[in-house]
């Protein structure tokens, strides 16, 4: 008895000794005050080491250039020689003496305010249908999401250019029905429409967000409503829609910001011109032409700042209006 006891005690002792040794070898030694100070200093600097890439990126590639761009917007600069200070001239010229600029603003506003609501309507409708507990949801979701993934690519813009051209797919289909087609891209009245269709086609990404939001609506709301004898349509009107409004706002803000900055489809479809007759001259396309075809860096910077402010204002209006229609639970 006593022998085993002693052995047990020895075992315990040996074990704890081992633990101590291991602890001493790996843990920061808290004993001497100098190493304590070192450890604290290390802890203090460590976060900044982790942040270092971001800090460099933020100051050198984002904040610095941003301020420089603000400065450039008050100058004329062609990358040869020094920027020449002209005050507010660029901004004044834009709105009073540059009809092409005003065209680009009009085209962009039409594009944003027609395509985004249509896109969201499709997204919401499909999300509601898909949310009814149908089988094969993941497959449908993937199919509808796919265009969002590739909608901004050159490959799709090339396809669009063929489809809506004079001898394109759309006119082939129309011919079957005896309708004489036209070049939808060559006609200034319809060219922008083809780009709007392209953006509506990419309704999959807001749809996925709607689907996720629909799943978050707690089931007890519908159960309680059913107990109160509320029918399906009323439940949709008074539960589903209000619960979705925050996500509608989120999607709207996100998609509008994206649409304001659309570039590739307009560039490829119009061959970089924004034609015919400026009908596809997106804001960013005109900015590109001014900055990188004419090398008017000052003017392009001023345009970029107006775009920035414009997007901020539209976003702010969106949020301000939201208090009239967005429902928050608490």
């Amino acid at each position: 008895m006593s022998v085993t006891h002693a052995r047990d005690a020895e075992g315990i002792e040996a074990g704890s000794g081992e633990q101590q040794a291991r602890g001493a070898a790996t843990a920061p030694r808290p004993l001497s005050s100098r190493s304590l100070r070192n450890a604290i200093r290390k802890d203090k600097f460590a976060p900044y080491l982790f942040l270092l890439p971001w800090l460099i990126g933020f100051f050198v590639i984002t904040l610095g250039p941003m301020l420089y761009s603000l400065y450039l917007s008050f100058t004329n600069y062609s990358m040869l020689g020094d920027p020449a200070w002209v005050g507010l001239d660029n901004y004044i010229k834009m709105f009073t003496n540059d009809p092409k600029y005003l065209d680009s603003v009009r085209v962009t506003l039409v594009y944003v305010f027609v395509s985004v609501p249509l896109q969201l309507a499709f997204a919401l409708l499909l999300a509601l249908i898909l949310n009814r507990g149908l089988r094969g949801l993941p497959l449908y979701r993937s199919i509808y999401y796919l265009p969002s993934l590739i909608g901004a690519s050159v490959a799709i813009a090339v396809l669009w250019r063929q489809m809506f051209g004079r001898n394109g797919l759309i006119n082939q289909v129309l011919e079957v029905f005896g309708v004489q087609g036209q070049s939808w891209i060559g006609n200034p009245d319809t060219a922008l429409g083809t780009l709007i269709i392209l953006n509506v086609w990419t309704f999959g990404s807001p749809m996925v967000i709607f689907l996720a939001a629909l799943r978050q609506i707690p089931g007890y709301l519908y159960e309680a409503a059913a107990v109160d004898g509320i029918n399906r349509r009323q439940a949709f009107r008074h539960i589903t829609l209000p619960m979705l409004t925050p996500v509608v706002l989120f999607n709207m803000v996100l998609q509008m910001i994206g649409a304001f900055q659309a570039f590739t489809p307009a560039f490829v479809v119009s061959g970089g011109t924004g034609g015919p007759v400026n009908s596809t001259l997106f804001y960013t396309l005109y900015l590109y032409q001014r900055g990188f075809a004419n090398f008017q860096m000052g003017y392009a910077s001023a345009m970029a700042w107006v775009l920035f402010i414009g997007i901020a204002v539209v976003t702010a209006i969106n949020f301000w209006f939201s208090k009239y229609w967005v429902h928050y639970d608490d």
């Binding site: 270092l52 990126g57 420089y68 761009s69 090339v158 990188f292 910077s301």
Partner: protein, 292 residues
């Protein structure tokens, strides 16, 4: 008896109507899906058609089928598409590596470390999320041209190593904040420093967010058109979208077949990445160690 009978028919009736409604929904969803994807399917088919058939065949399947478009398209206009694909791959892979490294480092600091100015820096990071890329277009171009980096991939790739895509930092921060804080404490008790905690404990658990970031970085850089157009001037350095656009400029509207063939190839990696990644994403956190 009668009531019993009534309810049973009622239930049966309801079930039948439900099945009918479902069938109708499936019918509409499939029809609409086909309509949406038809242009893509048609383009895939057209890439195997002979030139004159592209303008006459509405049906997607090629009759007769030919590989000539791929052969003709691959040589592109001057520089071949093999070069473009190589260039695009190099840029996309470097961008993915850069974003994963730099964004996860920053996210770890924001999500799991305490330091002065953390909130200010975090607010700065969030502010850059909302800024349109175009404000930086001109000054960054001037910066990179003064560094002599124009006509190289450095302006496209180096920002990724400096965590400029705040969206991914935000994504990873959100994910890392969801991990229990006991993990860090346990690691500290075991004697791990911040670097080891980041590398051995937090990063392996963040894999779903890393996968999402990798997939989106790849897709965005693969599709990107404006930045490569600004910085890559030499056709031998072109990416696939630039190559496609140059091809369109050079051949006008006369070579739809080869153009479609190359467009289909350019979309290939996106489809692959999406399909492979989707499975991974849905598996999510359940397989990564935190089971309860």
């Amino acid at each position: 008896m009668t009531t019993n009978h009534d309810t049973s028919t009622g239930v049966r009736y309801g079930r039948k109507r439900g099945a009918k409604r479902n069938a109708l929904s499936h019918f509409m969803l499939i029809g609409f899906g086909v309509l949406m994807l038809y242009p893509l399917i048609w383009m895939l088919g057209a890439s195997f058609k002979e030139s004159e058939d592209i303008f006459t065949q509405i049906a997607p399947w090629p009759d007769p089928a030919t590989l000539e478009n791929y052969v003709r398209g691959w040589s592109g206009s001057g520089v071949g598409f093999g070069t473009y694909f190589l260039n695009s791959t190099v840029i996309a892979v470097l961008s993915v590596v850069g974003n994963l490294m730099s964004c996860s480092l920053a996210a770890y600091a924001f999500a799991r470390m305490k330091f002065r100015y953390r909130n200010i820096f975090f607010a700065c990071m969030m502010a850059t999320l909302m800024m349109p890329h175009h404000v930086l277009l001109v000054p960054q171009y001037i910066l990179f041209s003064q560094l002599g980096w124009v006509n190289s991939i450095l302006p496209l790739v180096s920002p990724k190593f400096l965590a400029v895509d705040a969206f991914f930092i935000f994504l990873m921060v959100q994910f890392m904040r969801g991990l229990p804080s006991e993990l860090d404490q346990a690691a500290k008790i075991d004697g791990a420093g911040p670097w080891q905690t980041y590398w051995r404990v937090i990063l392996p658990l963040t894999i779903p967010a890393l996968a999402t970031s990798a997939i989106f970085t790849f897709i965005w850089t693969w599709n990107d058109f404006l930045s490569p157009m600004l910085y890559l001037q030499d056709p031998s350095k072109y990416t696939v979208p630039l190559g496609l656009n140059a091809f369109l400029d050079a051949s006008g509207e006369s070579a739809w077949g080869p153009m479609f063939a190359m467009a289909v190839l350019s979309l290939g990696p996106l489809f692959g990445f999406f399909l492979a990644g989707q499975k991974y994403l849905t598996t999510g956190i359940a397989t990564t160690g935190l089971k309860g």
